[in-house]
């Protein structure tokens, strides 16, 4: 399951899992962190975020940490599981290797120029 996830992980899911690596976060916190860490490229819509969290929970990559009430409204915090950490790490390594295929050819030329 983890390998399938790693092969087919979308960018929003990658940044959701990455945002949870430092500790549990609530929905709005994930949106803000994913936007900041992607340089503004990943702007998660709320419907997209909670759909992804639902699927990630079903896959065992994310789980509910706790629920608080803020101004009478529920605020749920999510945390990444061990399987989630492993999955996002595998994806990061895959992307590093893929990037290296290009950078090892282009960087020396850039340096020479």
């Amino acid at each position: 399951m983890v390998l399938i996830m790693a092969r087919t992980m979308s960018e929003p899911v990658y940044f959701i899992l990455a945002a949870l690596l430092d500790g549990p976060l609530h929905g709005y916190g994930i949106i803000k962190l994913a936007e900041r860490e992607s340089g503004g490229r990943v702007r998660l819509a709320v419907g997209t975020l909670y759909g992804a969290l639902e699927r990630l929970s079903e896959s065992g990559l994310v789980e509910l940490d706790r629920e608080e009430s803020v101004q009478g409204r529920p605020r749920r915090y999510y945390r990444i599981t061990e399987a989630g950490r492993e999955s996002v790490a595998v994806e990061a390594e895959r992307m590093r290797q893929a990037a290296q295929v290009v950078t090892r050819r282009t960087l020396p030329r850039t340096a020479q120029a």
């Binding site: 399938i4 996830m5 087919t8 992980m9 979308s10 929003p12 899911v13 959701i16 609530h26 929905g27 709005y28 949106i31 702007r43 819509a45 709320v46 419907g47 997209t48 975020l49 909670y50 759909g51 992804a52 639902e54 699927r55 990630l56 896959s59 990559l61 803020v70 409204r73 529920p74 605020r75 749920r76």
Partner: protein, 284 residues
């Protein structure tokens, strides 16, 4: 509750009721945090909510103890009954009570009561399968107008009615507890029956409406399969398409580019449900 929250809650109706009960407040809270001073939702948020809601409905549809193919056969029944009513609009005009049979069989299918639906589907199929009586033939007696109004159809036209009977028989024998279907199917068959009783004339717009509904429903099937990678929509789409294409087999003609595009689109969408169901799930 301000106007923005009211609008968000309206958009959340795209989600299944159970999902809204469990997660609705949390979604509203996050939505309000993303733009508390707005009066109307952002377009991208609105699109994501509707698309997310329909996706959750698709996921809810594949949950449950029923085998996927049983649910697929049940999914095929409402379009088959609706198409059966559409193809019988002239019989419904002649014998308005026959319209009630389509309505009752659809009602029972929507409620998941296939054993109740079976006799209601069987009667129009049997009536339509009777041959036209010869003029002056006394066999039918006072029932002769019924045979003229209902019977004597080509096998390709009968297939829609008998396919529904066949699927109902399979599901009735298995005896699975089936889920409820959308009441919109009932509204659809009621509209067709009312049209048959009151108007019963057709034209290019009739064909276009039918094509539009078929393409829209197959599109929904493709979207649901894309979300879940489940084959039940492929079963339903294939069952419908086989029956719908039967007249092309019985009366082979050279298709115009318009007909070819129409049938090609239906085939393509059905094929897409089968292909997408075989691919692995992508999260997010």
């Amino acid at each position: 509750m301000n106007a923005l929250e009211r609008r968000y809650r309206r958009l959340l109706l795209a989600y299944p009721r159970d999902y809204r009960r469990a997660n609705g407040e949390q979604l509203v809270a996050t939505l309000l945090e993303t733009g508390p001073d707005r009066r109307v939702p952002r377009a991208r948020e609105a699109v994501a909510l509707v698309s997310g809601g329909l996706g959750e409905r698709a996921h809810a549809a594949v949950a449950g103890p029923r085998p996927w193919w049983v649910d697929g056969l049940h999914l095929a029944l409402p379009p088959l009954i609706l198409a059966g009513a559409v193809s019988s609009y002239w019989s419904i005009f002649n014998h308005p009570w026959s319209g009630a049979l389509f309505v009752l069989s659809m009602l029972a299918v929507v409620l998941g009561w296939v054993r109740v639906a079976l006799p209601f589907a069987l009667v129009p199929a049997l009536l339509a399968s009777t041959p036209y009586p010869a003029l002056g033939d006394p066999t039918w007696g006072w029932l002769q107008p019924l045979a003229y109004g209902f019977g004597g159809r080509a096998w390709s036209n009968l297939l829609l009615l008998w396919a529904a009977v066949g699927l109902l028989a399979v599901l009735a024998v298995r005896g699975d507890r089936l889920r409820r279907r959308s009441p919109l199917w009932l509204a659809g068959v009621l509209a067709v029956v009312a049209y048959g009783v009151l108007v019963a004339t057709t034209g290019p717009w009739w064909t276009l409406t039918r094509a539009g509904v078929e393409i829209a429903l197959l599109g929904v099937g493709v979207a649901a399969t894309l979300r879940t990678r489940d084959a039940r929509w492929a079963v339903a789409a294939s069952a419908y398409l086989l029956c719908a294409m039967a007249p092309l087999v019985q009366y082979p003609i050279i298709l115009s580019w318009r007909s070819a595009s129409y049938w090609g689109l239906l085939l393509g969408l059905t094929f897409a449900t089968a292909v997408l169901a075989r691919r692995p799930v992508r999260v997010g």
